[in-house]
């Protein structure tokens, strides 16, 4: 083990230099959950087999996600001292061609290349006939803070993180700033929680910092059960060290004794990478007793939960870590007074904490200069549905949502027409196609009836029936209701019954008023956001697509004809 942070940094730099400009080609393959679903692990195996066949020594790294999920499996080839060249939608046949022509022969397969990314310090000429990947619509709008390393570094190798500036923020906090100054940087940044509520992070931290109890906890929430959002898991898979460093700094700033990272059991990719990051941080002395030679001592534990969407609610999350049913608690007392195991606790989302290292490194003012008014910094969006380019992008807050859809995501697949966007997870809201000329800003979006929420954006084309999608969202909410508050437990079931009736074209004019009544009661009588916001899918759909609901009820027809197709959900079989 190197004896000082400086020595660790030098060692990391040496290894990074060797990877980039040593004697071996460096081949990277994106293997987050999105890559896995596209077959990236098979491609990585094929690459290794082809290299062995041809007797070439190269470094093969299974990295995280570059964000261009639509192009996966994405193969990234960098010859020693050269630029990175990316091949999209690679299959096993093209692997052998790319290995023999490019890796062995030194000539890129231009026809199959999606783009190149120029490497700083490389004297090699930029490849002829291959576009600059940074000009690709999905990358051109980006400003990567949290995702700065995603797809570039091996998530299992902490040295690659350190070589790219990792752990300098912690070092700065511990050696140059005191706890209060660290918190002040976060305050100056204007950072707001990225889990959905957009509460100012520094204010939340100050509640815990102000509590003099000797044992205090910082919890990181990576439950992320939202359909359409995968950015938390993706951060853990692409750059887990940035989160771990954020959790350590949060512990220092708030005076906490221990951090917990909370992940759903079964998500092995995020779990294994996060465990490796924690273990390696401990080996290098970034966790444990007297971190970096200071009097700050801190530990991080990874806690797993069973399948439960409500476990992502902050008080239910504490119940789950304590090993109980994931049901929300009454508040007050608030977590900063009585939290996990009765101790003062602060809970933040993965994305929120992942911003912290860069904020401390570059200063709060730098972060506050990005974004729009009180929505500072960037937002990490998960693009899915009927879009041309699906994937994950990190863009400045204040970007127009219209540009996200029509520019960055390339518009709709097969040149179809956008009908609506489903935003911010199942408890978020839909936005009609005519209403997406809005800025990505917490307040602006809320006024439009949508939320930034977890960052999920699902785009639906005009072949989608709004009643059918609303039914699907409510089926999810019904299935995931924890059952503690009866207005949510029964309200969701009742809403689902009504929506199923509408989909069978058997609804009546009373049904809309009935849903409204249920929604009001759910909002008033539920302990947590699941019930309080659970009517959003219906109310926002009615707001933009009232006439389409009327068609189902009054004319007994479904304009897209999709309602009557067979529909399944666990609500039917586990009810």
């Amino acid at each position: 083990m190197p004896s000082s942070f400086l020595e660790t940094g030098l060692e990391a730099g040496k290894r990074w230099q060797e990877l980039n400009a040593g004697e071996r080609p460096w081949i990277r393959i994106g293997t987050a959950l999105c890559g896995e679903a596209a077959g990236a692990f098979e491609i990585a195996d094929a690459v290794e087999a082809a290299l062995e066949n041809q007797g070439v020594a190269a470094t093969v790294s299974r990295v995280g996600c570059l964000g261009l999920c639509f192009a996966e499996p994405l193969l990234d080839v960098q010859l020693p001292g050269g630029h990175r060249i990316f091949y999209a939608n690679v299959d096993t046949e093209s692997v052998s061609e790319i290995i023999s022509a490019h890796v062995v022969g030194g000539v890129p397969v231009t026809a199959k290349a999606l783009g190149y990314i120029a490497q700083e310090g490389s004297t090699a000429p930029v490849p002829d006939g291959i576009p600059d990947l940074n000009q690709h619509p999905m990358k051109a709008w980006e400003n990567r803070i949290v995702l700065r390393n995603a797809g570039n570094i091996d998530p299992f190798d902490i040295y690659q993180y350190i070589a790219n500036g990792g752990y300098q923020a912690l070092h700065k906090s511990l050696t140059e700033l005191n706890r209060e100054e660290t918190l002040n940087e976060v305050k100056a940044s204007g950072l707001r929680g990225r889990g959905g509520a957009a509460f100012p992070t520094a204010t939340k931290w100050s509640f815990l910092a102000g509590n003099p109890a000797p044992e205090k906890f910082v919890l990181c929430n990576c439950e992320e059960g939202d359909p359409g959002a995968f950015n938390d898991k993706n951060i853990l898979e692409s750059d887990p060290n940035t989160l771990v460093e954020g959790v350590i700094i949060a512990g220092y700033a708030t005076g906490a004794s221990k951090g917990y990272i909370f992940i759903r059991h079964g998500h092995d990719g995020p779990i294994n990478r996060c465990r490796a990051a924690v273990d390696q941080a401990r080996e290098l002395g970034f966790l444990g007793e007297n971190i970096m030679g200071t009097d700050f001592s801190y530990e991080i534990e990874i806690a797993l939960t069973g399948d439960s969407y409500v476990a992502g609610e902050e008080s239910a999350l504490m119940e789950a870590i304590e090993g109980k049913r994931a049901m929300p608690r009454f508040r007050p007392p608030f977590p900063a007074q009585v939290g996990l195991f009765g101790k003062p606790t602060n809970i933040n989302n993965v994305k929120t904490l992942s911003y912290v290292p860069e904020i401390v490194s570059k200063g709060g003012e730098w972060f506050a200069s990005i974004g729009h008014e009180t929505s500072t910094g960037t937002v990490i969006l998960c693009l899915s549905g009927n879009l041309k380019y699906t994937g994950m992008i990190e863009v400045p807050l204040g970007m127009n949502l219209k540009d996200v859809i029509y520019e960055a995501a390339g518009g709709m697949k097969e040149d179809k027409t956008l009908k609506f966007l489903q935003t911010g997870g199942p408890l978020g809201g839909v936005l009609g196609a005519d209403n997406i000329d809005v800025l990505l800003d917490f307040e602006v979006l809320r006024a439009a009836g949508a939320i930034v929420g977890s960052g999920g954006l699902i785009a639906a084309d005009d072949s989608t029936c709004i009643v059918d999608l609303t039914r699907s969202l409510i089926a999810f909410c019904q299935y995931e209701s924890c059952g503690k508050c009866f207005p949510c437990r029964m309200g969701m079931s009742h809403l689902l019954e009504v929506l199923e009736r509408l989909c069978r074209l058997e609804g009546t004019t009373d049904d809309l008023a009935l849903m409204q009544k249920i929604g009001v009661n759910m909002q008033a009588g539920s302990l947590c956001g699941h019930g309080q916001l659970g009517f959003n899918p219906v109310s926002s759909a009615l707001r933009y697509f009232g006439p389409e609901f009327d068609k189902h009820i009054v004319d007994h027809t479904c304009p897209t004809g999709t309602c009557l197709e067979p529909s399944y959900s666990p609500a039917q079989s586990r009810r």
Binding site: L33, A37, P227, G228, H265, T305, G323, A326, T390, S569
Partner: protein, 159 residues
């Protein structure tokens, strides 16, 4: 001690994380056996100084737990909104047909479990299914059925 109880004992006592709870112990048993037998409810109750009722309250809350031995293979079909939009219902129908089932559950010969998953976490590759927890994205009804047939040609025991 019977073989089953021994395995439960080893799984529960083999937990290495500092925070050991009823839920973490049940997850450890699920990882080892693929289900939570009655013996595990009793064992975890005694181990945690709780009642069987307390343990059952936790086990019955989380739908990832099952209480009879698992089938040999499991196919998860995602029905999240992203997958729903691009045809998850037709995928589910096709997977059920390939499995010979009417709804989610086990085949009578216990070779296959088909179940809904509310989000497999690869929304950008929708529609997504998982064969023995290995993801496959951008499937269509035909390729999904092929995945199921291929899975059934293999021996194995899904956890």
């Amino acid at each position: 001690m019977s073989g089953l109880v021994q395995r439960i004992h080893d799984a529960v006592h083999g937990q290495t994380q500092p925070t050991v709870t009823v839920l973490s112990s049940l997850l450890a048993v699920e990882d080892e056996l693929g289900y939570i037998p009655k013996e595990a409810l009793e064992f975890v109750a005694e181990f945690s100084n709780a009642t069987v009722n307390d343990v059952w309250a936790v086990a019955s809350f989380y739908p990832n737990f099952r209480f009879d031995p698992p089938a040999e293979h499991v196919v998860d079909v995602c029905w999240g909104a992203s997958c729903h939009l691009v045809g998850a219902m037709n995928i589910f129908k096709s997977v059920l047909e390939a499995a010979g089932l009417d709804d989610e559950g086990d085949t009578p010969d216990k070779r296959l479990t088909v179940r809904f998953n509310s989000c497999l976490g690869a929304c950008s590759q929708a529609p997504v299914i998982a064969m023995d927890h290995h993801l496959a994205g951008r499937v269509n009804p035909e390729s999904a059925a092929k995945h199921v047939t291929h899975l059934l040609e293999q021996d194995g025991h899904a956890k």
